[in-house]
């Protein structure tokens, strides 16, 4: 049903090409993977390739391929490390489908990707050939065997003497092969070599000129080799944006958001895949006067942030699932005492240690309902790299306006993916106001809850007349410990009202597609690009499907109930578990549905179906297409 995204509109490949005869095939997009053992530089190569494509003006989305271990054994199937780069003529919003072309530094990491079904059947493989005549007979045999199998399976395998070619230029080709590959790819995709040279100079900018020179030489050698020895070439037309663009990954975007929000303090504890946000922030936060505190544990990080927030300005703590679980009690304290706090959860596979480097959306319910008792907090999920930046600004503002905890749910997909987006234009309104030190008016109470909105003013230490003891125990308006039924109810009521007050200020999210139809797909977080791409494709084929993407999940904006009524069927697509209806014991009375589906069903009393994938990989538009198509067929039965 879904046509391939690979639109080959150029002439057929010229065979037996000489350089002059080679004509570039024009493509609208391509997915390229570069994979190697850890430490061979495939990641740097991929990121640079993505950056050059972005400089060319192409739409780009890069995805890191990360083994779980720091140094997995060389040439191991589970050890693939590298990058997937999706390049398009227009804006690219997700990692796309299976790869169209793959560069592998050895056949074992390649095999890993084949088995994970990440490569398009029959795709082009550029394979390092040094293993063919390896002195270790076992290695040579494994190489030959794998290559032959791939050829038999229809892959277009090109053996490339990368090592041998690099040896002409450097003594240790292990360090530098990636630049040779970068040059090769620049030739294959008809990139401007000067932009590539600039990129190499940029990434080695801190090193001396000889390092840059050596790498540029490798780059040019790779380019030259591909020009002379490969019989095909592509061109992906670029449509340059008119405004300045930046390219960062989601974690860097989060960190830039923290800087731009005027927050003072980020307290954290190392955890994958959140930590790179704090790494970057540790580098740069001091330049704007802020600090990153690496606490002794996740609980301390949260408590530290709460202390800093209490003392003046909203602080942030950045973590992933297991850390989020540990912070739950402290988050409850911030809710109870109405201390503004931003908690970022870069979700990974769970439960327990789960899949630290893989993407999943398994923490939604924990974020919305976690911490014991009724602990209302705001939960929002950025849906793009750009949104990671702006979500932090919004989160900080909401936290301080409502004196609430705001949880920002990113995930491993956004964390490590890169995408160009318009360079943010600094606005002073982004910044937190200075710490209020004015005297508190006579008679004002620390919890003077507004009967309409539930919002109370906040007394910050240093404010004369505002002295009170804030407590995690039930308390009255004077912040005195109060166990009487009225005080307890009053506190719960007002803390809850704040969500309603915020909800009234939220706009109904726009529909992607039509205003009504056969099927509405609802998603949240990082899956937006894949879902909308699939929906767009199916609509182009004439299907009555639309999608809705929620940035705010708690509170849920108004107007959604009315939207649901306009569609015959509604389903969520999420990267978390839901029971498969085909399993023998699963029926409507026991099926555990996906997190968002559960929340929507509870709120709107609509029979909302769901589909969830927990393969640890970002959603693929093709997979979403298949799911939607099946659902449409079901609906017509």
């Amino acid at each position: 049903m879904c046509a391939s995204t690979l639109a080959e509109i150029g002439p057929a490949v010229a065979t037996g090409a000489t350089r002059s005869a080679k004509q570039a095939i024009t493509l609208s997009e391509h997915v390229i993977e570069i994979i190697s053992d850890s430490g061979e530089g495939a990641q740097r190569c991929g990121q640079s390739f993505g950056a050059i494509a972005a400089r060319m003006g192409n739409g780009v989305w890069t995805v890191e391929i990360i083994p779980a271990e720091i140094q997995p054994p060389a040439r191991s199937i589970a050890g693939a490390s590298g990058n997937r780069i999706r390049i398009g003529t227009h804006r690219v919003t997700n990692g796309g489908n299976e790869a169209n072309l793959v560069v592998a530094f050895n056949e074992q990491v390649l095999l890993g990707r084949v088995r994970e079904r990440e490569l398009k059947p029959g795709c082009t493989v550029l394979l390092e050939s040094m293993w063919r005549d390896h002195p270790d007979a076992g290695i040579a045999a494994a190489y030959r065997e794998t290559r032959e199998q791939l050829v038999r399976d229809g892959y277009d395998v090109r053996e490339i003497p990368m090592e041998q070619e690099c040896k002409r230029l450097v003594s240790d080709p292990r360090r530098g092969k990636n630049m040779f590959v970068l040059g090769m790819l620049c030739s294959l995709y008809s990139f401007d070599l000067q932009l590539a040279r600039d990129q190499v100079a940029f990434i080695f900018g801190k090193k001396d000129q000889n390092v840059i020179k050596a790498n540029v030489a490798l780059l040019e050698a790779g380019h030259e080799w591909a020009e002379s020895n490969l019989d095909f070439k592509y061109r992906i037309p670029a449509a340059r944006a008119t405004e300045a663009q930046i390219v960062v990954n989601g974690n860097t975007a989060l960190a830039l958001g923290v800087m731009a929000s005027g927050m003072d303090v980020c307290a954290m504890y190392p955890i994958t895949p959140a930590t790179s946000a704090s790494h970057y922030l540790s580098e740069v936060f001091e330049n704007v006067g802020g600090i990153v505190h690496q606490a002794e544990d996740e609980i301390a990080a949260c408590a530290f942030a709460i202390g800093a927030s209490y003392a003046g300005k909203c602080a942030v703590t950045i973590t992933s699932g297991p850390g989020y679980s540990l912070k739950q009690e402290a988050i409850g304290l911030a809710v109870m005492c109405e201390i503004p706090l931003v908690v970022v959860d870069v979700q990974r596979g769970g439960p327990s240690t789960g899949q630290p480097t893989k993407a999943e959306q398994g923490d939604l319910l924990a974020a919305c309902f976690g911490s014991h008792g009724d602990a209302p907090k705001v939960v929002m999920a950025p849906s793009s790299i750009e949104d990671c930046f702006y979500s932090i600004l919004t989160a900080r503002k909401i936290a301080e306006t409502f004196n609430m905890v705001v949880v920002v749910l990113s995930d491993a997909n956004l964390a490590t993916s890169q995408q160009p987006f318009p360079r943010p234009k600094f606005n002073e309104a982004w910044l937190a106001p200075p710490v209020n030190q004015d005297p508190v008016p006579e008679g004002a109470k620390p919890y003077d809850w507004d009967p309409l909105t539930g919002i109370a003013r906040r007394f910050v230490p240093g404010q004369p007349n505002g002295m009170h003891t804030l407590t995690g125990l039930a308390h009255d308006r004077l912040s005195r410990v109060a166990y009487d039924p009225e005080s307890n109810e009053e506190g719960l009521r007002h803390r809850s009202l704040k969500l309603a007050a915020l909800q009234k200020s939220l706009k109904t999210p726009p529909l992607f597609g039509g205003e009504d139809g056969e099927l509405l797909v609802i998603g949240w977080g990082s899956t937006r690009g894949a879902i909308e791409e699939a929906v767009g494709r199916l609509r182009a084929e004439g299907h009555q499907v639309s999608s809705l993407h929620l940035r705010f999940i708690q509170p849920m904006p108004g107007g959604i109930g009315e939207i649901l009524k306009r569609f015959k069927q509604v389903m969520t697509i999420e990267m978390n578990w839901c029971d498969r209806p085909g399993d023998e014991l699963i029926d409507a009375s026991n099926r555990r549905v996906s997190a968002l589906a559960m929340m929507l069903r509870a709120r709107y009393l609509v029979d909302i179906d769901c589909w969830g994938e927990v393969r640890g990989q970002p959603l693929k538009p093709d997979a979403v297409c298949r799911v939607i198509s099946n659902k449409l067929v079901q609906g017509r039965r």
Binding site: Q245, V265, H293, S309, Y310, A311, G312, R423, L470, G472
Partner: protein, 324 residues
């Protein structure tokens, strides 16, 4: 502006602080509880140091002792079990202008919050930490604590506690960056005050363990020490405590101890009985975390914009000429 500043200064100068200025709600501890003695000493300290109530924060966790902030008329933060120290660290880092005190108990500090205790000592942030050590869980009604003596019968150890108690002094003195470690006992209130006063003036994390009685659950535990003054060892030194003549008449068991001498401090801490009272260790030159790692006090929008634009420049790909 200048008039207002002037008025403020005048008001500060004229403002009088008496004990009532620091007295919050009426304490609801059991009568005879050692917490009362500590509260009184702290209120005296605040008065004598003329601490501005709005510039003073008492942070606590959970337990009998952690109710203390409610009984002060300053800012207070009565948080969750075991986490008083990281909360206080966040406050300290965000606000160098505040006086930060932490009250914590033997369960709060030495059990559920033990990780934070170790790291708080290592951070050495400027705050006064009071460990109210009554050697029992009181609020949850008599369970064994890490500092309970071996053999103690409690609700969870009806046939006697299995383990030797943890010694908070030796633990603290074993942590890198310990800068002020002292011990007081609730039956000598005069010295609680003296020691807390020294602790307050120390720039760094002052750790004061205060051995106190729990009249409800362990009414007789400390009787042998109360009945025999010689089982209390007063540590005196020109750089440490000087003991009044009247106190010296009762507590004759005294020993000169140089608080700079950490080896001797560890020896004294390990001995345990007689109970040492005084300043075991004081090193004013240990660096403080907030000196090494501080928030820029003048964070102007211009500073933030400049820093942000410099970072955005690094990531700007096209068009180059429009960047920056």
């Amino acid at each position: 502006m200048s008039t207002r500043a002037h008025e403020c200064l005048m008001r500060m100068y004229l403002e009088e602080h008496n004990l009532e200025s620091y007295q919050g709600s009426i304490p609801r501890w059991c009568s005879g509880c050692g917490d009362n003695a500590i509260l009184t000493a702290v209120q005296r300290l605040c008065r004598d140091e003329k601490l501005r109530p709005e510039k003073t924060v008492f942070v606590s966790g959970i337990g009998c002792s952690s109710r203390l902030p409610h009984y002060m008329k300053t800012y207070g933060f009565h948080g969750i079990h075991g986490r008083a120290l990281p909360v206080a660290e966040g406050i300290r880092l965000a606000r160098p202008d505040l006086n930060v005190f932490v009250t914590t108990g033997d369960g709060d500090c030495c059990s559920i919050g033990a990780a934070h205790w170790i790291h708080a000592i290592r951070y050495n942030m400027n705050m006064t930490v009071m460990l109210h050590d009554n050697q029992i869980y009181g609020l949850t009604k008599m369970q064994v604590s890490p500092t309970s003596p071996k053999g103690l019968r409690s609700k969870t150890t009806p046939r006697g506690a299995f383990l030797e108690p943890l010694n908070p002094l030796t633990v603290t003195l074993g942590i890198q960056n310990a800068s002020f470690v002292a011990q007081a006992v609730d039956w000598i209130p005069e010295l609680i005050y003296e020691i807390l006063s020294r602790a307050f003036h120390h720039k760094g994390c002052s750790f004061v363990r205060i051995i106190q009685r729990c009249p409800e659950f362990l009414p007789e535990l400390l009787d042998p020490w109360l009945h025999d003054p010689n089982r209390t060892l007063l540590l005196t030194h020109e750089k440490g405590l000087q003991v009044s003549a009247s106190l010296s008449r009762v507590y004759k068991n005294q020993r000169e101890h140089d608080p700079m001498d950490i080896d001797r401090a560890r020896e004294i801490a390990s001995a345990g009985d007689p109970i040492p009272v005084g300043i075991l260790y004081h090193n004013p030159s240990v660096p403080r975390y907030e000196e090494l790692h501080a928030i820029e006090p003048l964070r102007t929008p211009e500073l933030i914009q400049r820093g942000l634009e410099a970072e955005l420049d690094k990531f700007t790909i096209w068009p180059q000429e429009e960047a920056g």
